[in-house]
């Protein structure tokens, strides 16, 4: 008797649960934010991720793409670990999103702080940031071959110094990859931000850098730096001339120049774990609208971004692959925390 009632009650509950689960899926894009959405930047103010986040905030505001405000918050502690741990810990909170850079993969490996993209819900990839090998315009070589020859010949005081942002992050990973491919050695000098690195390269305090396009383009235009190759699998599509009649599209890929290395940095969005499909769909739609604006397209062109954009399973597959690549690169370079 008792158990029979319990069974009916249980069945009822199950039925309600099933309908509850189905209902939102049936209504298309039923979810909308009901309060302010926090947009976490796991890096400091003024950097590349911060610029992009504030750009998005501006576009959303100007074009009224959201009914609730979007607020950018920097949580840069522990090479971004603070921001990712915040999102990881905000289970089922749909009013929080985070913009990711490569530290999504590198920080847990380098510091041992436990988080991974699997602890969060992937929303969409917005773009990929390029890396370019830069040297001072006064350098005697004009191509990768000349650079590598000089690199291998250097010794003592002349050993090449590679300036980069942070330690055991993307810039140093690329440096280590060049060392592995060529057998030559760099002295890697870590700085706080990409702007510092570009200035140090202009001042001749370091020999080379792998700055993102946006970090060094102004020095290229002014004839103080020159690009040698881009770490992408294809040349950049931007044909508008930048300096001396050369455009981004004229920079050869490192691969075609005999330095077989590819590296691109994720600029993508994730949200806390266990977000519902509707919640994810809402943000996927939102970023689709952001990417369609002329402001965004101009921004992409200025920063010479790779405009690959993914969401859903393709995005998850990309993340899986990128995580494995980083693990491999960092293990080879001995950057993984023990």
């Amino acid at each position: 008797m008792h158990s029979a009632i319990a069974k009916i009650v249980r069945r009822g509950v199950a039925a309600i649960a099933v309908t509850a689960a189905l209902a939102p899926a049936m209504a298309h894009a039923a979810w909308e934010p009901t309060k302010t959405v926090e947009f976490i930047v796991p890096a400091g103010t003024g950097g590349g991720a911060d610029q992009m986040a504030r750009m998005i905030q501006g576009i959303v505001q100007k074009n009224s793409l959201m009914s609730q405000p979007l607020v950018v918050i920097n949580k840069s502690g522990g090479a971004g670990a603070e921001g990712f741990l915040d999102v990881k810990g905000s289970n089922r909170n749909p009013h929080k999103i985070i913009i990711s850079l490569s530290n999504l993969f590198t920080t847990p490996l380098a510091t041992g702080v436990p988080f991974s993209w699997k602890d969060m819900t992937p929303v969409s990839m917005l773009a990929l940031d390029e890396f370019v090998l830069w040297v001072n315009a006064k350098a005697p070589y004009n191509d990768v071959k000349g650079f590598l020859d000089a690199l291998k010949a250097a010794s003592g005081d002349q050993i090449f110094k590679m300036g980069g942002t942070g330690s055991k992050q993307e810039d140093q990973i690329i440096t280590a990859a060049i060392e592995q491919k060529t057998g030559a050695k760099f002295i890697y000098v870590p700085y706080k931000g990409g702007g510092d690195v570009a200035a140090q390269l202009v001042g001749g305090h370091v020999t080379a850098s792998v700055n993102n396009p946006i970090e060094a383009v102004s020095q290229w235009r002014a004839g103080e730096l020159k690009p040698l190759c881009v770490f992408d699998y294809q040349r950049l599509p931007y044909k508008e001339p930048i300096a001396n009649g050369k455009s981004w599209a004229d920079i050869p890929t490192c691969k075609e120049s005999g330095l077989d290395i590819e590296y691109l940095m994720l600029r993508g969005i994730l949200m806390p774990p266990n977000a519902t499909k509707d919640q994810v769909d809402y943000f996927v739609e939102l970023f689709k609208k952001v990417r369609a604006t002329p402001e965004w397209q101009e921004f992409m062109q200025k920063g010479a971004f790779n405009t690959t954009a993914l969401s859903g399973p393709e995005y998850a597959a990309w993340l899986t692959k990128a995580e494995a690549t980083h693990k491999d690169l960092m293990e080879k370079a001995g950057f993984v925390a023990k």
């Binding site: 103010t45 610029q51 522990g78 090479a79 380098a110 041992g112 890697y188 706080k192 200035a199 103080e224």
Partner: protein
């Protein structure tokens, strides 16, 4: 003279009434941001950046840079009245500003600080107008070794002359260095002293520590000493501005020195905070009234303000000419240029004449407007001290807590602030100096990373610090400053020994 023509063109851009309105709105917001501890210039500008998305670039930069001027002015207000530095670069202003307020001279201190700020900014903007291309190149000379030399000079200029026993100064400074080391180490990418705690990942922010050490510590002291502000009897009248101005001309040598230090630190880019500390230290060393510093000397208020504002203004120069931000706020403004569709860097002066000269003209006008806004409010701010302590103290505590929270949006920082408040109180009671701790906390990690970068570059040879005339002379100057008090003490003692001997 081309600069003058361009500047006149720049004022023409400003003639648009909307731009003038943006300027005043920016200044008012900036003063507010400066008054609220924690919400620094960089955060304030970053928060308002997306709002400017639909403005023209010229209007946007005018409004945002006006916020920056306002914040530079406003930082002094709470430093003087309540011993709470609203911004990192106003810490040095508290050393003499607050004792002045306690003596009932709050109006005088505020006027001195504001006027000092204005002088610094004016000096820097003249530099930007006429010497931009020459000065800009100087910034490129600075590699890791040069940066370390500048930080070393700041420490030495400030430490060499403490009245407190050397052991106390050193232990306070070591505590500062230890706290500065918490968090991620930029050179190796490893976590240090976080003990597996998530909250310690971000390290101890300088602002949170300062709000606690100075603001909360001061309230604890006042509570013990009778629940009343000492500066209550402040005579407030509008003439105080004029009276103070009459005293300022005799400090012209110091002002010039501070302005040069400030511009140098802004361009290189050492920043406004080291500039203010260094300038205070130098003034204490060279001024006739040096021994009274820390007890409420007007000169001790004016000098750091001149340097801080000169540094804050000249920090825009490397940003405009080279695309290198000279301060955190300049870094955010640099990001803003991209958002408005401009390309920062060496060609900005050529391609965006209206923008650049409009900005430079707005620095002139913005600072004049700022000075007028803050000076007219001196009597109002000074009058705050007349409010009974039991009413205002809880308000101050709340503002401190909000400020500490705002720095990183972290609740735990409020607790950290309170702990620092107790430390500040204990330091005062045990007569340990706070300044070395604060200085080590703000410059410790920067000095450390530039030292280690220099060691990486030189492959471990200290000779890099004498490898060229620039770095060699700064390091030597720093070491001379460090040992100077010892030398002068020895000389004084030798002389002292001789004189009584002669008298006998």
């Amino acid at each position: 003279m081309e600069a003058l023509t361009s500047l006149i063109g720049g004022f023409g851009v400003l003639a648009d009434p909307m731009n003038i309105i943006y300027m005043f709105v920016g200044i008012a917001l900036g003063v507010l941001i400066g008054v609220l501890p924690g919400l620094g210039g960089a955060n304030g500008v970053a928060i308002l950046l997306p709002l400017t998305f639909s403005m023209t670039p010229v209007s946007a930069i005018i409004m945002l840079s006006s916020i920056y001027w306002g914040a530079l002015f406003g930082g002094a207000i709470t430093s003087i009245l309540f011993n709470i530095p609203g911004e990192p670069w106003s810490v040095a202003t508290t050393f003499d500003g607050h004792p002045m307020a306690q003596k009932g001279k709050a109006g005088e201190a505020l006027t001195g600080a504001f006027t000092g700020s204005f002088i610094g900014a004016f000096f820097a903007v003249l530099l930007i107008t006429f010497l931009a291309p020459v000065i800009a190149k100087f910034a490129l000379q600075f590699g890791p070794a040069e940066f370390f030399a500048v930080y070393l000079l700041t420490f030495c200029a400030f430490v060499g002359m403490g009245r407190e026993p050397a052991a106390k100064v050193i232990s306070a400074m070591m505590l500062g260095f230890a706290l500065a080391a918490v968090g991620i180490d930029t050179v190796t990418g490893q976590l240090r002293m976080t003990f597996g705690s998530v909250e310690l990942l971000r390290g101890f922010d300088f602002l949170v520590a300062v709000i606690g050490l100075f603001g909360v510590g001061e309230i604890l002291l006042t509570m013990e000493e009778g629940l009343a502000f000492k500066g209550k009897s402040a005579a407030i009248n509008a003439k105080v501005v004029w009276e103070t101005w009459k005293k300022l001309p005799k400090y012209w040598v110091g002002c010039l020195r501070s302005a040069i230090v400030g511009c140098w630190m802004g361009v290189t880019p050492g920043g406004a905070t080291p500039a203010s500390f260094m300038s205070y230290g130098l003034a204490k060393k060279f001024s006739k009234n040096g021994n009274n510093f820390g007890k409420g000397e007007l000169e001790g208020v004016v000098m750091p303000e001149v340097a801080a504002h000169a540094a804050g203004t000249s920090a825009l120069l490397p940003m405009l000419t080279l695309g290198i931000p000279g301060s955190p706020t300049a870094a955010v403004l640099l990001g803003g240029l991209l958002i408005w569709g401009l390309q920062p860097g060496p060609l900005l002066f050529v391609e965006q004449k209206d923008f650049v000269w409009g900005l430079i003209a707005s620095i002139y006008l913005g600072n004049i407007a700022g000075l007028i806004v803050v000076l007219t409010t001196v009597p109002i701010f000074a009058a705050i001290l007349r409010i009974p302590f039991s009413v205002i103290a809880p308000v101050i505590l709340v503002i401190c807590a909000v400020g500490a929270y705002t720095v990183h949006n972290a609740g735990l920082d409020i607790a950290v602030m309170l702990v620092f408040g107790v430390i500040g109180y204990l330091f005062k009671k045990l007569q340990y100096p706070l300044a070395p701790l604060v200085l080590a906390l703000v410059l410790g990690d920067m000095a450390e990373s530039s030292f280690r970068q220099a060691m990486l570059v030189s492959q471990g040879h200290l000779s890099i610090f004498w490898s060229n005339p620039l770095v060699g002379s700064i390091v030597t100057l720093a070491l001379v400053m460090l040992v100077w008090p010892l030398v002068s003490k020895v000389m004084a003692r030798l002389n002292g020994h001789k004189e009584p001997a002669a008298a006998e």
